[in-house]
Symmetry: C2
């Protein structure tokens, strides 16, 4: 069933309509009177509706019932990814949204060869948030993950450790697996941190460990910086019983 994201204020109203981009999208899909759609506020609240009228630029809806989204995972996973070259961050935002991430947090780290300047950042952030919204719509999510950009590695560390379990993946770690880290308890919020193309510096890993991060391996094969976060996220969702 097609789903449309509207603002929380719109979703609370007694009469629901689709306008603007949503109406255009409905037109492209040739939705007709009598068909059902889902309206969603991007924060987990949904409304099953039937189309009652289709006119130029506006689709009128009859509310069938209001529910909470059934497609959100039981665990809130924050994906911390170091800035990387090209469109890798965009790739991870799209895929992590599909895979059920709660938020995607980009941060600078010592070996980052690319980091956006302040000027281009606000434009990029807007673009990244749109990618998350579009991926959330396509994958049937009830929540649009927030894309967050941090100014420093220190900030990423202090923010990350606020999760019930914070994990940093390091290619030189051999002993501690993700499975060991997750078996220590039942966690409602998890932070997964992965490095840039050149990996983390040993000093950065020490800082994260001192702050309370578990340092884990993702196996004996070296993963690209855009593969590692998605591999870890898939495993965490699997471990949480999502599939």
């Amino acid at each position: 069933m097609t789903r449309f994201f509207v603002s929380p204020e719109e979703l609370k109203q007694d009469f629901l309509v689709l306008t603007g981009e949503n109406a255009n999208h409905a037109k492209v899909l040739r939705l007709q009177c009598g068909e059902q759609v889902i309206l969603c506020d991007g924060s987990g609240h949904e409304c099953l509706c039937t189309i009652s009228d289709v006119s130029a630029g506006q689709i009128s809806l009859v509310i069938n019932n209001r529910t909470d989204s059934a497609t959100e995972p039981s665990v809130q996973v924050s994906v911390y990814m170091a800035f990387s070259k090209g469109d890798k961050l965009e790739h991870v935002i799209q895929k992590a949204t599909e895979l059920g991430a709660y938020e995607i947090v980009a941060f600078p780290s010592a070996r980052c060869v690319s980091r956006p300047d302040d000027k281009s950042l606000s434009k990029k952030l807007e673009r990244w948030q749109k990618i998350a919204a579009s991926a959330a719509e396509q994958s049937g999510r009830g929540y649009v993950p927030k894309v967050v950009v941090l100014k420093s590695f220190a900030e990423a560390i202090s923010r990350g450790v606020q999760a019930d379990k914070a994990i940093l993946f390091y290619e030189n770690e051999r002993a501690t697996t993700l499975k060991m880290a997750l078996s220590e308890g039942s966690f409602k919020t998890i932070a997964l941190m992965t490095g840039p193309e050149g990996g983390f510096e040993a000093k950065e890993v020490s800082k994260a460990a001192d702050a309370g991060f578990s340092i884990c391996t993702l196996g004996s094969r070296i993963l690209r910086c855009e593969t590692a976060p998605l591999c870890a996220l898939s495993a965490v969702m699997y471990d949480a019983g999502e599939f």
Copy 2:
């Protein structure tokens, strides 16, 4: 440490040299006498070597020791992916190789909108095999996954069920999770089958189930056809204790 793939015949010789593309690659990396490299036959056999001489078009090596690759997973996973649009198959070949796949098998299915004709196929297959080789080298694998192309869905089914455990992922399956399927035993070979953009037809799913496939969900979110195989592969590797 840099690794180079050579033929099994070459690796068996008493005196090892790098020539052709490998020698060019070594030159680009500015490798010097005294540095160590790994030579690998792409089938799990490796040789740790020290560079003894660098001359135009040829790098001479002294053999330190011969071993079996330590980066190959304990489980052999075959990734069966339906033909899909654009470069999605290439993306999956690269990432699945990093994640430790044993082979990648492409096959046609009812809703495939794109499938290569026989003429372009041999060229494409050569390209796909190169992508796997390059990803194996970068990720430090000792084995280059084979890329296999099948002519029909029926062939994919009959080949897939030869694995110890064959699993087809279906968006309309709700009850059976991958975790349930994997908990039924300890499997040395696993086949993971995912559909094209439009998903599998119900008839195809029935055929697979009749042949012995377990039909599983990958969670309540709808994954793109290039995300599903990598999500499943990551989870299987996690379950097998790889990380």
